[in-house]
């Protein structure tokens, strides 16, 4: 599975399964935004955008284009029927107050205890954390989606993050193109294999020792 596009699609399709009908969902900038493309039609899902919109719709046609209507990634969007606009304080009240069922975010590193690093690389220009630090403490469930290994083949799922943290102990589940891993009180638990790898291959690509879901051992 070397094709970048296929990897992103695999991850996005699996992440979509985390979303239940009736959920209010915040999708982070980048790969998480793709998840919306795979949302099953029978699910009633409302997408929140932290710049002040509950009910993101599809990208606009040229006719629908409205410069005053963007998502948190600053892309022009539309709003669904029944959407609500509000200010940034209300938006983050909604996020911090636990009213968003799930946030799906990208990651650079995740540690075995659920620490997340996804906002800066020392030595590179700091761009800012935007709303990520608020989201990870606010949404009821935090899913990080990312490639299992870095471009250079290094571990991104680690014992301890080397990069500056976005938050400590905040991640509930990691979804990569290879596997689904849960952060548990006892450590990282491998709960699903997505690409047909063996358990030992996934363990090799993951720095922390993995607890293995029993059903996987019996396969």
């Amino acid at each position: 599975m070397s094709d970048k596009h296929l990897i992103r699609e695999t991850i996005a399709r699996r992440a979509e399964q985390e979303i239940e009908s009736g959920f209010y969902v915040n999708l982070g900038i980048g790969m998480p935004t793709l998840v919306a493309n795979y949302l099953q039609k029978d699910k009633q899902v409302v997408l929140q955008s932290e710049n002040g919109l509950l009910g993101i719709g599809p990208f606009p046609t040229e006719d629908e284009l409205d410069p005053d209507l963007i998502n948190a990634g600053k892309e022009t969007v539309t709003a669904i029927q029944g959407a609500a606009f509000f200010d940034s304080a209300e938006s983050f009240g909604m996020i911090r107050g636990g009213h968003i069922d799930i946030a799906i975010l990208g990651g650079m590193e995740v540690s075995k205890n659920g620490d997340l690093a996804n906002w800066m690389i020392p030595g590179k220009m700091i761009k800012g954390m935007g709303g990520a630090m608020d989201l990870i403490h606010g949404a009821k469930r935090i899913i990080v989606i990312m490639e299992h290994l870095s471009k250079n083949g290094k571990h991104k799922i680690v014992n301890k993050c080397a990069l500056p943290l976005t938050g400590k102990g905040v991640v509930d589940r990691i979804i990569t193109e290879r596997a689904v891993l849960d952060v548990t009180d006892n450590g990282l638990k491998l709960v699903e294999i997505l690409d047909g790898s063996t358990i030992s291959e996934i363990q090799a690509a993951t720095e922390p020792n993995l607890i293995i879901e029993e059903t996987l051992l019996n396969q």
């Binding site: 046609t61 005053d68 630090m133």
Partner: protein, 230 residues
């Protein structure tokens, strides 16, 4: 009742070197375009700017940046702007990055007379350094203080002569809190209507927060035009 300006130069002429300014907007959406253009003309400098972003290289706050009028930038994301990066690396500008929700709440607190509050954002990160930490129900939170400004520059789609404002879609963003947190708030409105023409239940910013109003035509540049793939 409010001072209604006809010239943007006039609207910003009292802003002095070294002032702290809050500027509404998220990306290029909901920014007071013409007030910022007028500020570039005045050449006022050593400004501290509190705004979620810092514009792009050739529009919005980016114009003030290019003109070296900003001493310090307080925001949550400044990644759209190459000149910003250059000035930071050259040590020409100070920068304070704040989680976006904390920024919104600190500005709200400033307008609402709350000197400080606790929030979970930033616990366990470099943001927490030198900040007071307190536990509530077994979870840690950071103490964050209110932000206020000498001048607040905002944009609304509609205003009346009592200063009541209405915003359009996601151009609302930080504007209502910034309106309340400035000692002097200058509102650039797309349309100015007579008193009573905005329904009392539909006012987003009550006029008490607004001191100056001016009508301006907006370019509304689009940062990332995304169109449906059909």
């Amino acid at each position: 009742m409010k001072q209604i300006h006809s010239s943007f130069q006039d609207a910003v002429k009292n802003i002095q070197d070294g002032s702290t300014l809050m500027v509404g907007g998220f990306g290029l959406v909901g920014i007071p375009e013409n007030l910022l253009l007028a500020l570039v003309e005045t050449g006022v400098k050593d400004l501290t700017i509190i705004s979620n972003n810092c514009g792009v290289d050739d529009w919005g706050l980016g114009l003030l940046l290019k003109n070296k009028q900003i001493k310090k930038m307080v925001g949550s994301y400044v990644g759209e702007n190459k000149e910003f990066e250059r000035q930071v690396l050259a040590g020409e500008i100070e920068i304070e990055l704040i989680p976006q929700g904390t920024l919104a709440e600190r500005i709200r607190a400033g307008g609402a007379g709350i000197p400080a509050f606790y929030t979970p954002a930033g616990v366990g990160t470099s943001i927490a350094e030198s900040k007071e930490i307190k536990e509530f129900d077994g979870k840690e939170y950071l103490l964050e203080t209110a932000l206020t400004a000498d001048y607040s520059l905002i944009r609304a789609i509609k205003g009346d002569k009592m200063g009541n404002l209405v915003y359009n879609k996601t151009a609302r963003n930080f504007n209502p809190m910034i309106a309340a947190a400035g000692k002097i708030t200058i509102a650039e409105v797309e349309e100015l209507v007579e008193i009573g023409q905005i329904e009392s239940d539909q006012i987003h910013t009550p006029g008490v927060y607004v001191q100056n109003i001016i009508v301006g035509h907006q370019e509304k540049r689009i940062e990332r035009k995304t169109i449906k793939q059909i």
